[in-house]
């Protein structure tokens, strides 16, 4: 006689730990030894749930349990029942993740291994990324060093850059290995190289635009893009650690970018009484890259005159706060 259903106990990442083929209804699950599937978890009742079939089809019924069960996203209390439906059902009982598949459920097609690896394929691309990132680092070191010290700076920076990238990728590889049983080192290396290139591009482009067009706000709020790049980097790293939770990882990444931006804005306004991070645009490029036309001195001074209203308002607003502070200090002294 063929099995009517399969019930599996799953690992955290969704891989099956062990399965029990069900040959007849009802299927009883709980901590007592007379169950068909015995789950020795302290948060599970002696007879936690029953899967059975009647004229309306297969259903899940919760036994005498304090914690109840969760079907998909739906919580069921003691005594409640729900039909299984026409797709495999995820059941959470206590801290155990179960999956119930009926014989009549359609079988999902085979998935290709490592779906997360498809961002950048192949060794040539990886080689190109390494070359690009290395060239960029050499250029940065060139810019920052004096002619006599260039080679020495190159040596020490190359070593520390390689160590840093390997350490970063190593930690992510360990995490991947821990949670998915696969290292995905190549994936993590690609992610970090692309992240470095993306940040350099964002940073260079915002500075150049801020200078060329005399738009200080672009580099003033560059940190917003910085958080976006950082969040995207974490998202792609996490894809190789939690490959079955895209949505949750994506939402976490977006949340982090938003939270980081808001915290920075708040910090800037507390610290410098302004939202941006740069008091003035200080990115000077070779004169040939300037596009914005210079203004004459009287026009420029009109812009300076406009600051007075803001300054006077700020001077007045904080006066009260300042006095309170002073009195507070006085009380403390006494």
């Amino acid at each position: 006689m063929g099995a009517v259903a399969l019930i599996e106990v799953l690992e955290r990442d969704g891989t099956p730990r062990h399965g029990v083929a069900v040959s007849q209804w009802p299927l009883r699950v709980g901590r007592a030894l007379d169950n068909d599937l015995v789950l020795d978890d302290p948060h599970i009742a002696a007879h936690h749930l029953v899967v059975d079939r009647d004229e309306n089809g297969t259903f899940v019924q919760v036994g005498d349990s304090i914690n109840g069960i969760v079907l998909g996203t739906q919580r069921l209390a003691s005594g409640e029942r729900r039909p299984v439906g026409d797709a495999p059902l995820a059941i959470t009982a206590g801290r155990m993740h179960l999956r119930l598949r009926l014989a009549e459920h359609a079988l999902a097609p085979e998935l290709r291994l490592d779906p997360a690896r498809s961002l950048v394929q192949g060794l040539p691309l990886l080689g190109l990324l390494v070359l690009l990132a290395a060239a960029l680092q050499v250029f940065n070191i060139y810019l920052d060093s004096d002619p006599d010290g260039f080679v020495r700076a190159l040596g020490s920076n190359a070593i520390s850059a390689i160590v840093a990238v390997l350490a970063w990728c190593g930690v992510w590889t360990l995490l991947s290995k821990l949670f998915t049983r696969q290292g995905h080192f190549g994936w993590h290396l690609r992610v970090v190289l692309i992240a470095v290139l993306a940040w350099e591009l964002v940073s260079g482009a915002t500075q150049l635009l801020a200078f060329s067009l005399s738009w200080p706000w672009i580099s003033d709020f560059r940190f917003v893009l910085g958080y976006a790049v950082a969040a995207a980097t974490l998202y792609f790293h996490m894809l190789a650690v939690e490959p079955y939770r895209h949505r949750r990882v994506r939402n976490a990444a977006i949340g982090m970018a938003v939270a980081g931006t808001l915290l920075s804005l708040w910090f800037n306004s507390q610290n410098a009484d302004r939202l941006g991070s740069e008091l003035y645009m200080s990115h000077l490029f070779p004169p040939a890259l300037r596009i914005a036309r210079p203004v004459d001195t009287p026009t420029f001074m009109k812009g300076v005159a406009d600051l007075q209203a803001t300054l006077d308002a700020k001077a007045k607003r904080k006066e009260d706060a300042g006095d309170d502070e002073g009195e507070g200090g006085g009380d403390a002294d006494e």
Binding site: D146, P147, Y280, T297, F300, M301, K314, K318, G326
Partner: protein, 453 residues
Amino acid sequence: MISMRSFRTGLPGLIRALALVLCTASAAAQTSAPKPVAPPDPPASAPVSLSARKVYEQARSQLVQIRTVLKGQASQTSVGSGFMVSAQGHMITNFHVVAEAALQPERHDLVSVTADGREAPVKILMLDVLHDLALLKMADPKAANFDALSFRPETQKLAQGERMYSLGNPLDVGFAVIEGNYNGLVERSFYPQIFFAGSLSAGMSGGPALDQEGRVIGVNVARRVDGEQVSFLVPGAFASELLARGRDATPLALPAWPVLAAQMMGHQQLLTDRFIAQGWKLATHPRYQVPVPPDRFMRCWGSSEPSRTGGLDFERSDCVMDTRIFMGEFTTGAIAVRHESYDGRKLGTLRFAARYAQSFRNEHFDRRRPDQQTRPQCHEDFVDRNGLPLRAVVCLRAYKKLPQLYDVSVLVATLDQPKSGVQGRFDAQGVSYPNAMKLAQHYLEAYAWVPSR
């Protein structure tokens, strides 16, 4: 820390680190001052000449120590000196000796102590913050018949090297007479000050400096800690003027911020007018006209710093004023102008641009407490100076306790050459908004190409 304020404008490696110290002894000074083994007895223990002894004996009853005392606690927060100038109990001292009492009257009391140890409360009649003077009076209206010092008439000029005597109570050790020499007026000072070659110590601030007949020449105010016997006196004329103006004044309403603000208004107008009237030095750079002020009331120091590693060569010029106006919690009222001229031919265009930007970024704005000043607000753009493109940034901060006064800073970088350039900075503290605008424009418009011959 003995100094209530000290400022240093020295560049590393230069022998000119300037450190000016006002001679008030603060509470902190007391712990660092060496304890005398025996109670000091100045007339007997000091090896003074016969005339110093005569001068001290004559002036002894007119000397006072001015103590700022914490209300309700009777411990002193700072001490200075002072002297009687009228039979009704008028006294002259430094503003910085009474600044705590003048600006935080809710926490401080002023007490005068005579050489024979009699204490009496005093009140502030009038301030002259620009010359760092205060006119005080005995709080008891019935007190009278005080011995008073008289001022040496202005018509009787002193000769350089003439002997003079500075009196006061150094470090709260005891009243003392210090011999020294008159050395004329301090050069390049915005307000006249007497250069006294003698040792002033903290606690002597506000004490009188007398000639051999015992008449007041000046008032002890400050000294340089990087030199020996380089001390400064406020000329007596300002003190006698203050006495004449404030003799019958009602005691000052405290806290005295409005008085400070009004006097600063006058100062900044004078400073702005004098600064703009003096124009700029010529021939400061082979390619550009770079604004450098004449050495009238400012001192300019230059240095040349060639790179030792084949990098950026630069020269700099740094012009500062010695005169600053003490405002109790901070000093203000000064102008500073500097520039750096960069030569990056050994670096190439890209490297030079990176270094030039780094230098433009590396500018600091003194962070005053948020209850003293707002954060800076800046306006920036490319500015055209008869064809010479500049990047200009003007940042202003408003004082919170000195309404309608601002600090203005102007940053300028020339942007016409790929491998060299000049960056300049102009700072004016405690100026009105119209004057801040005027000074900033005056500075910006001083930039240009040197006219071709």
